[in-house]
Amino acid sequence: MPHVAEWKKDEVANLKDLINSYEVVGMANLADIPAPQLQQMRRTLKDSATLKMSRKTLMSLALNDSEKAQIENLEDYMEGQPALIFTNMNPFKLYKILESSKTPAPAKAGSIAPEDIIVPKGDTAFKPGPVLGELQKAGIPAKIEKGKIVITNDKVIVEAGEVIPRDVASILTRLEIFPLEVGIDLRAAYEAETIYTSDLLTVDEEKTLADVQKAFTQALNLSVEAVIFNKESTPLIIQKAVSQSLNLALNAEILNEKTRDVLLAKAYAQMLALASEVSAKDENAVDDELKE
């Protein structure tokens, strides 16, 4: 590497070392993270991952110079203020940790709304004044009520994927609505010749939970339906057998120790039902006992 300052050579060598000694290398974007939060996140990651900020050119050099196949493609994911993350954790887990450490941040003019930004109906802290006009101008339904500015309806002020306009950003901040998230934004991660982009890395735990329950239900259904006996299915198969047998006995009016009370009760209930219809027509058609 001619024409390169000594410190830069050291830095590239250092990065290469890290690249070669960890199984997973992530490319993150640290843009917009305030310094204290970044400190906090470094502490969170301390034992599980190493975060390294550097110049884009140096990171490119290190990636291209590594003997790990395909890893140079990570440079395609340099965005904003890129940084490399080194870890031996499963990249999905790394992504999950990083996502969960993100914190809410104020709206910024020109950024993209990650989801619908809603201004909820209700009181505001604002006293009547010019702010009412600003709210209305930003498209927020507001009026004065009992000496306060009140938002009259829930309002989607910016839809997901739309750019946040300047006046809206400032109003949202004044309303203390923080629709953005800041944190280490993992754009892609490399492991064993594969690059996982952030869309792949998104793990849907709710779906996984639902799938686990679905699998269990399917297994129960199949074992009951096919009459395969195991610890879980056998009580259900017994219940199915008993329930079918009781149904048959009750429907065919077969008296035995399990059905007789129910059948007697059925007769009695039917009698009372019919009696109430009859006595509605003519009280004298039923005996005194039934009139009460």
Partner: protein, 72 residues
Amino acid sequence: MEYIYTAMLLHTTGQEISEENVKKVLEAAGAEVDEARVKALIAALEDVDIEEAMEKTAVAAAAPVAAAAAPA
């Protein structure tokens, strides 16, 4: 209640709920027969759909059961 059971019995066996039949069953069951009540019963049942009236128990009953099952 014996008058009602008698009506249900005749209904189930598919016999007419007539004065004669009602009396015959009641007597077989050892009941003292009150002519006026027999007449009143038969008149009252003329406008009643027995099958439906008896089923009402079931329907009324089925509702709370449904309710109980619903939140699950």
